[in-house]
Symmetry: C2
Subunit: 72 residues, 2 copies
DNA sequence: GCATATTGTCAAGTATACTTTTCAAATTGA
DNA sequence: TCAATTTGAAAAGTATACTTGACAATATGC
Protein backbone atom coordinates (compact mmCIF):
# COMPACT_ATOMS: atom_id res chain seq x y z
CA UNK A 1 0.00 0.00 0.00
CA UNK A 2 0.89 3.63 -0.51
CA UNK A 3 3.10 5.02 2.24
CA UNK A 4 0.66 7.87 2.90
CA UNK A 5 -1.07 8.03 6.28
CA UNK A 6 -4.54 9.07 7.31
CA UNK A 7 -4.81 11.73 10.01
CA UNK A 8 -8.03 12.52 11.87
CA UNK A 9 -9.80 15.08 14.02
CA UNK A 10 -12.05 12.58 15.71
CA UNK A 11 -11.32 13.49 19.29
CA UNK A 12 -12.34 17.12 18.80
CA UNK A 13 -15.42 16.27 16.78
CA UNK A 14 -16.51 13.78 19.42
CA UNK A 15 -15.93 16.31 22.19
CA UNK A 16 -18.05 18.85 20.33
CA UNK A 17 -20.94 16.42 20.54
CA UNK A 18 -20.26 15.60 24.17
CA UNK A 19 -19.93 11.91 23.53
CA UNK A 20 -17.70 9.49 25.38
CA UNK A 21 -15.67 6.96 23.37
CA UNK A 22 -18.04 4.34 24.74
CA UNK A 23 -21.14 6.16 23.49
CA UNK A 24 -19.69 6.84 20.05
CA UNK A 25 -18.57 3.22 19.83
CA UNK A 26 -22.12 2.04 20.46
CA UNK A 27 -23.49 4.45 17.86
CA UNK A 28 -21.28 3.06 15.10
CA UNK A 29 -21.21 -0.53 16.32
CA UNK A 30 -17.59 -1.06 17.37
CA UNK A 31 -15.83 -1.35 20.73
CA UNK A 32 -14.52 1.52 22.80
CA UNK A 33 -10.97 0.35 22.19
CA UNK A 34 -11.43 0.68 18.45
CA UNK A 35 -12.46 4.31 18.84
CA UNK A 36 -9.53 4.93 21.16
CA UNK A 37 -7.09 3.29 18.76
CA UNK A 38 -8.29 5.33 15.82
CA UNK A 39 -8.21 8.58 17.80
CA UNK A 40 -4.66 8.00 18.98
CA UNK A 41 -3.56 7.06 15.47
CA UNK A 42 -2.76 3.43 16.19
CA UNK A 43 -4.41 2.42 12.97
CA UNK A 44 -6.47 3.57 10.04
CA UNK A 45 -10.16 2.63 10.17
CA UNK A 46 -11.97 0.84 7.37
CA UNK A 47 -13.74 3.12 4.91
CA UNK A 48 -17.03 1.83 6.28
CA UNK A 49 -16.16 2.86 9.83
CA UNK A 50 -14.94 6.25 8.61
CA UNK A 51 -18.28 6.85 6.86
CA UNK A 52 -20.26 5.75 9.91
CA UNK A 53 -18.27 8.05 12.18
CA UNK A 54 -18.88 10.99 9.86
CA UNK A 55 -22.57 10.16 9.81
CA UNK A 56 -22.97 9.92 13.58
CA UNK A 57 -20.79 12.93 14.30
CA UNK A 58 -22.67 14.88 11.64
CA UNK A 59 -19.52 16.10 9.94
CA UNK A 60 -18.31 15.73 6.36
CA UNK A 61 -15.92 12.79 6.22
CA UNK A 62 -13.27 15.09 4.76
CA UNK A 63 -13.48 17.21 7.91
CA UNK A 64 -12.75 14.18 10.06
CA UNK A 65 -10.03 12.47 8.01
CA UNK A 66 -7.26 13.72 5.77
CA UNK A 67 -4.30 12.30 3.87
CA UNK A 68 -0.90 13.02 5.36
CA UNK A 69 2.43 12.68 3.60
CA UNK A 70 1.16 11.77 0.18
CA UNK A 71 3.04 11.94 -3.13
CA UNK A 72 5.95 9.48 -2.86
CA UNK B 1 -18.63 -4.06 13.39
CA UNK B 2 -21.88 -2.53 12.19
CA UNK B 3 -23.74 -4.70 9.71
CA UNK B 4 -23.87 -1.85 7.19
CA UNK B 5 -22.03 -2.26 3.88
CA UNK B 6 -20.13 0.16 1.70
CA UNK B 7 -21.17 0.40 -1.94
CA UNK B 8 -19.09 2.11 -4.62
CA UNK B 9 -19.13 3.60 -8.10
CA UNK B 10 -15.49 3.00 -8.77
CA UNK B 11 -15.81 1.18 -12.05
CA UNK B 12 -17.72 4.03 -13.69
CA UNK B 13 -15.48 6.72 -12.25
CA UNK B 14 -12.41 4.86 -13.47
CA UNK B 15 -13.92 4.39 -16.93
CA UNK B 16 -14.63 8.13 -17.10
CA UNK B 17 -10.93 8.75 -16.72
CA UNK B 18 -10.01 6.03 -19.20
CA UNK B 19 -7.84 4.19 -16.74
CA UNK B 20 -7.28 0.44 -16.58
CA UNK B 21 -7.39 -1.27 -13.19
CA UNK B 22 -3.65 -1.71 -13.56
CA UNK B 23 -3.05 2.01 -14.11
CA UNK B 24 -5.28 3.09 -11.26
CA UNK B 25 -3.61 0.53 -9.02
CA UNK B 26 -0.20 2.04 -9.76
CA UNK B 27 -1.51 5.55 -9.10
CA UNK B 28 -2.70 4.69 -5.61
CA UNK B 29 -0.01 2.13 -4.82
CA UNK B 30 -1.90 -1.15 -4.61
CA UNK B 31 -2.16 -4.20 -6.87
CA UNK B 32 -4.56 -4.66 -9.73
CA UNK B 33 -6.33 -7.42 -7.82
CA UNK B 34 -7.07 -5.04 -4.98
CA UNK B 35 -8.79 -2.63 -7.37
CA UNK B 36 -10.71 -5.47 -8.95
CA UNK B 37 -11.80 -6.82 -5.56
CA UNK B 38 -13.05 -3.45 -4.39
CA UNK B 39 -14.89 -2.81 -7.66
CA UNK B 40 -16.64 -6.15 -7.54
CA UNK B 41 -17.56 -5.65 -3.90
CA UNK B 42 -15.44 -8.45 -2.50
CA UNK B 43 -14.35 -6.24 0.33
CA UNK B 44 -14.37 -2.75 1.74
CA UNK B 45 -11.16 -0.76 1.27
CA UNK B 46 -9.32 0.96 4.10
CA UNK B 47 -10.23 4.61 4.61
CA UNK B 48 -6.77 5.51 3.35
CA UNK B 49 -7.27 3.69 0.07
CA UNK B 50 -10.73 5.23 -0.32
CA UNK B 51 -9.26 8.72 0.08
CA UNK B 52 -6.43 7.98 -2.36
CA UNK B 53 -8.87 6.68 -4.96
CA UNK B 54 -11.01 9.80 -4.63
CA UNK B 55 -7.92 11.95 -5.01
CA UNK B 56 -6.62 10.20 -8.12
CA UNK B 57 -10.04 9.92 -9.74
CA UNK B 58 -10.69 13.57 -8.91
CA UNK B 59 -14.07 12.87 -7.39
CA UNK B 60 -15.48 13.63 -3.92
CA UNK B 61 -15.11 10.51 -1.81
CA UNK B 62 -18.86 10.62 -1.13
CA UNK B 63 -19.45 10.29 -4.88
CA UNK B 64 -17.38 7.13 -4.99
CA UNK B 65 -18.54 5.39 -1.82
CA UNK B 66 -21.81 5.24 0.07
CA UNK B 67 -23.29 3.42 3.03
CA UNK B 68 -25.79 0.69 2.19
CA UNK B 69 -28.25 -0.91 4.58
CA UNK B 70 -27.54 1.21 7.62
CA UNK B 71 -29.75 1.66 10.69
CA UNK B 72 -30.16 -1.82 12.28
C1' DG C 1 -6.99 -15.19 -37.28
C1' DC C 2 -3.42 -13.87 -34.14
C1' DA C 3 -1.28 -11.21 -30.50
C1' DT C 4 -1.99 -8.07 -26.75
C1' DA C 5 -4.56 -5.79 -23.25
C1' DT C 6 -7.98 -6.05 -19.80
C1' DT C 7 -10.63 -8.12 -16.35
C1' DG C 8 -12.48 -11.81 -12.98
C1' DT C 9 -11.17 -15.09 -9.93
C1' DC C 10 -8.79 -18.45 -6.99
C1' DA C 11 -5.45 -20.07 -3.53
C1' DA C 12 -2.13 -19.27 -0.12
C1' DG C 13 0.36 -16.07 2.48
C1' DT C 14 1.22 -11.51 5.10
C1' DA C 15 -0.36 -7.30 7.21
C1' DT C 16 -3.51 -4.85 9.62
C1' DA C 17 -8.21 -3.80 11.54
C1' DC C 18 -11.04 -5.05 15.20
C1' DT C 19 -12.42 -7.82 19.60
C1' DT C 20 -12.03 -9.32 24.32
C1' DT C 21 -10.05 -9.01 28.70
C1' DT C 22 -7.57 -6.53 31.79
C1' DC C 23 -4.98 -2.96 34.45
C1' DA C 24 -3.59 1.67 35.64
C1' DA C 25 -4.11 6.54 35.62
C1' DA C 26 -6.49 10.74 35.15
C1' DT C 27 -11.04 13.34 35.59
C1' DT C 28 -15.28 14.55 37.51
C1' DG C 29 -18.62 15.29 40.90
C1' DA C 30 -21.10 14.74 45.19
C1' DT D 1 -12.02 12.43 49.88
C1' DC D 2 -14.28 8.68 47.93
C1' DA D 3 -16.67 6.58 44.10
C1' DA D 4 -17.79 6.48 39.45
C1' DT D 5 -16.60 7.78 34.68
C1' DT D 6 -13.46 8.14 31.20
C1' DT D 7 -9.38 7.18 28.71
C1' DG D 8 -4.75 4.87 27.21
C1' DA D 9 -2.62 0.93 26.58
C1' DA D 10 -1.10 -4.03 26.24
C1' DA D 11 -1.56 -8.97 24.97
C1' DA D 12 -3.66 -12.54 22.51
C1' DG D 13 -7.05 -13.96 19.36
C1' DT D 14 -10.21 -13.49 15.07
C1' DA D 15 -11.61 -11.25 10.85
C1' DT D 16 -10.60 -8.97 6.90
C1' DA D 17 -7.69 -6.10 3.73
C1' DC D 18 -4.02 -6.59 0.66
C1' DT D 19 -0.15 -9.26 -1.95
C1' DT D 20 1.78 -12.61 -5.10
C1' DG D 21 1.38 -15.78 -8.69
C1' DA D 22 -1.37 -17.97 -11.79
C1' DC D 23 -5.05 -19.22 -15.18
C1' DA D 24 -9.07 -18.52 -18.12
C1' DA D 25 -12.33 -15.45 -20.70
C1' DT D 26 -13.37 -11.58 -23.21
C1' DA D 27 -12.37 -7.67 -25.74
C1' DT D 28 -9.30 -4.78 -29.14
C1' DG D 29 -6.40 -3.81 -32.81
C1' DC D 30 -3.72 -5.23 -36.62
Amino acid sequence: MSKAKLGNRLKVARAEKNLSQEELARLVGVTRQTISSVETGQYCPSALLAFLLAQKLEKPITDLFFIEGDEP
